[in-house]
């Protein structure tokens, strides 16, 4: 399984992760049949270094924006300011959608942020290979 990741979407996720540091950053990702189209940097209502909850009203607005463009929400991203880019037991327990891509940004080494992608289905974590696109 692999996923093409446009450079500007990767950049949007990494910038949001860095801007929110030392709190966890979070957001949603929209796409269509052609691929990923947009990363929505959203508010972590918990404003916490170890947990996140996406602001539900912002989630709703992102959904409606995506639908107006003919896109769907296809994934979520969040950062781990002090740990690895791998889903935690809490991430797995709360994962709402087996079809979504779960992007994790690890800032354990802030100068070299890690970005990885996963699917989480029935408590099972499967890594997705990322193919970075230059544009």
């Amino acid at each position: 399984m692999s996923l093409r990741l446009p450079a500007q979407i990767k950049q949007a996720m990494l910038v949001h992760a860095e801007n929110c540091y030392p709190e966890e950053a979070c957001g949603l990702v929209a796409g269509d049949r052609r691929g990923l189209r947009m990363a929505y940097p959203l508010t972590n209502v918990l404003a916490s270094p170890t947990n996140y909850t996406i602001d539900p009203v912002e989630h709703f607005r992102a959904l409606k924006h995506a639908e107006r463009q003919g896109w769907e929400l296809v994934g979520v991203f969040h950062s781990h300011p002090h740990s690895q880019a791998y889903p935690s037991p809490t991430d797995v327990r709360l994962a709402p959608d087996p079809e979504w891509v779960y992007f994790l940004i690890g800032l354990a080494d802030r100068d070299r942020p890690q970005l990885r992608a996963f699917r989480i289905h029935d408590g099972t974590i499967t890594e997705i290979d990322i193919e970075e696109e230059t544009r």
Partner: protein, 93 residues
């Protein structure tokens, strides 16, 4: 009695025969959900694990979050659109 459209998140669609949008009737969100539960018993268990709105679910009537209206007592007009969203949350541990 109002007839409304309810947009379901992907996780709930399997409990409604795969439909993205379903219809139900009622004059409040609570009544609509009760009707939905009658039509799709599998959905009822998902929506209300403890007899109230699950904490893992957010509900919007048209463009408004019902937490800022009257919750399950929020009135719905005919042709209203209800959107159910999963809470999106996690942590580092």
């Amino acid at each position: 009695m109002s007839t409304v459209k309810i947009q379901l998140p992907t996780v709930l669609r399997q409990h409604a025969g795969g439909a993205k949008t379903v219809e139900a009737t009622g004059d409040t969100v609570g009544e609509v959900f009760a009707d939905l539960a009658r039509r799709y018993p599998a959905l009822a268990a998902q929506l209300a694990p403890d007899g109230d709105l699950g904490v893992f679910v957010n509900v919007f009537v048209d463009d408004e979050d019902i937490r800022y209206l009257d919750g399950l007592d929020t009135p719905v007009r005919d042709d209203a659109e209800i959107t159910i969203l999963p809470a999106v949350a996690g942590g580092a541990r």
